[in-house]
Symmetry: C2
Subunit: 314 residues, 2 copies
């Protein structure tokens, strides 16, 4: 599937792409999406659902949605684009709730970090005539909730779309244009391959970070206050990742089980080899690895993927 | 051991603390130390050694040392403070080289990330009348070499000193004052306890980061360019740590073997439990851990230890 050309001739290069966008969930990702859509004029109106009335109220107060509801089936009526932004484990149930009210010709997408499980759980509920295009913007911060979003979150980051074979090309082009006009870089991928790539670049790192922060917290000989105090030695980077939304990440691991367990097996195997090198004082093995990994950092920096997105300062 | 009071009455609160400071090694830490000493007027002159003539020349060119040499024994003559800033594994050899030329009454310190091994390797070479006070500024970046240093590196970060029992109190107070006047926070600790604390907050995180970056690089199903491209999902944080100086970190692991292996054992045990929870779909175990770790992040941020030190922009 090719990436749409957003030259001036493209019908998607300027103006609104959708009339009404309905966001299911008003947290970090959907909130940022709303701010971006509003800033770039990509839709006439953005409305939102949350199961929590407090979050709906807060999103309305912040102003990134113009209508809000705790009734998902209600809010999707008449929407041209519906974005499921709930934790991955809840997306099937969400799809079942809204299916009957989805407008023919509209597009249903999501922003979950796992794609095969979303295809499995959401797919069967999608009515004939509705374009289902799973998506995953690869960007985030450790903050969550309606206050966490900001328009720049996706800039220079990738958004992976995994449209099933046979998906309507115009619907795909339109959705891809939305992400591109948020200054995101769009890539197409098979859902299964997405899950494997992300298991390496995102899911395993998060699991490891959660684990090490847990291990440090459980030490008897080193107090918790010492761990906090000397976090500047490297630990602090892990605490940032390990502060990510617990519900979202629980669902990621439960819904990308196979790929995560595969990566985890490789990671543990490699770690055991390092452990052995340390025990036997084999400095060459350590030095060689540390030299290889340094090169990868240079490539990550060169690719512009080294920075954690930060909200603009007031 | 108490932290010196730097009120106006203290003799160390203003003016130069040392006449001549000799730095053995002119990389990130010693370079930053030199810049800080010069900025805050903490010594009359700073001189430096490197085994590489190129590094000596570069340090002289940058201007953070006023004299340089590839002869360590030569450069320490007449110095009031000598700072070993070579990788930990080389510190014993360095001490043997310079011992005969250390000035009576001078202070010998180091900036290594491991302290018991430094006490073990350097201690026996220290002549009578020279004050040996091992130290460890807990701050760093992934950059190395003479160009990597900057005066602000230590600001708001801790510097741990591990003077052996019976060390001259005035010498300790003077060295502690040096770090405090670099806006570092000073703490005293037993060398063995230091090594355990740092194994948790720094050594294990680095080892894990090196390992995961290595594992990702070795994947067959996911290409290296995909890993680089989607690093924004969490992996990028690990690449930063895994870009730290290979020689320095090899030496850290080989010289803090016992504590690192102990931490690694606990980490692997905990990771196996997480792996089992994922395999059996036990979301509660995951959710509980992720909720606990999020709290720790808040404490790290509150303690001001969440930021990676960055050189000021030009």
């Amino acid at each position: 599937m090719s990436i749409p050309d957003l030259t001036e001739e493209s019908e998607f290069a300027s103006g609104a792409l959708y009339k009404r966008v309905a966001l299911l969930g008003v947290g970090l990702i959907n909130g940022s999406l709303a701010w971006g859509i509003l800033r770039h004029g990509l839709a006439d109106e953005v409305v939102g659902y949350s199961r929590s009335q407090g979050s709906v109220d807060r999103a309305l107060e912040l102003g990134f949605i113009s209508e809000g509801s705790t009734d998902a089936a209600e809010i999707v009526k008449d929407a041209d684009l519906v974005v499921i932004g709930t934790p991955v484990g809840a997306s099937g149930e969400m799809a079942a709730l809204i299916a009957a009210n989805l407008k023919p010709g509209s597009t249903l997408t999501d922003v979950g970090s796992v794609k095969s499980a979303v295809v499995r759980d959401v797919g069967p509920h999608v009515p004939e005539g509705v374009h289902f295009i799973p998506g995953h913007p690869v960007a985030g911060t450790e903050n969550s909730g309606p206050d966490a979003g900001f328009a720049e979150l996706f800039e220079d980051h990738w958004c992976i779309l995994t449209p099933p074979p046979g998906t309507d090309q115009t619907a795909v082009d339109r959705l891809a244009a939305l992400w591109q006009r948020l200054n995101s870089k769009v890539e197409f991928m098979d859902a299964k391959h997405h899950d494997l790539v992300l298991a390496v670049t995102s899911h395993l790192p998060h699991l490891i970070a959660y684990n090490i922060v847990g291990t440090a917290n459980d030490m008897e000989e080193v107090t918790r206050s010492e761990v906090i105090k000397y976090a500047g030695g490297g630990f602090h980077d892990f605490t940032r990742i390990a502060a990510s939304d617990p519900t979202m990440w629980r669902d990621v691991f439960l819904n990308n089980k196979e790929a995560v367990l595969e990566m985890l097996g490789r990671f543990s195997e490699d770690l055991t080899a390092l452990q052995r090198a340390i025990r036997w004082g084999d400095g060459d093995i350590l030095f060689d690895l540390f030299t290889r990994t340094r090169k990868i950092r240079r490539e990550v920096v060169a690719a512009g993927q080294a920075e954690v997105p930060k909200p603009p300062e007031d």
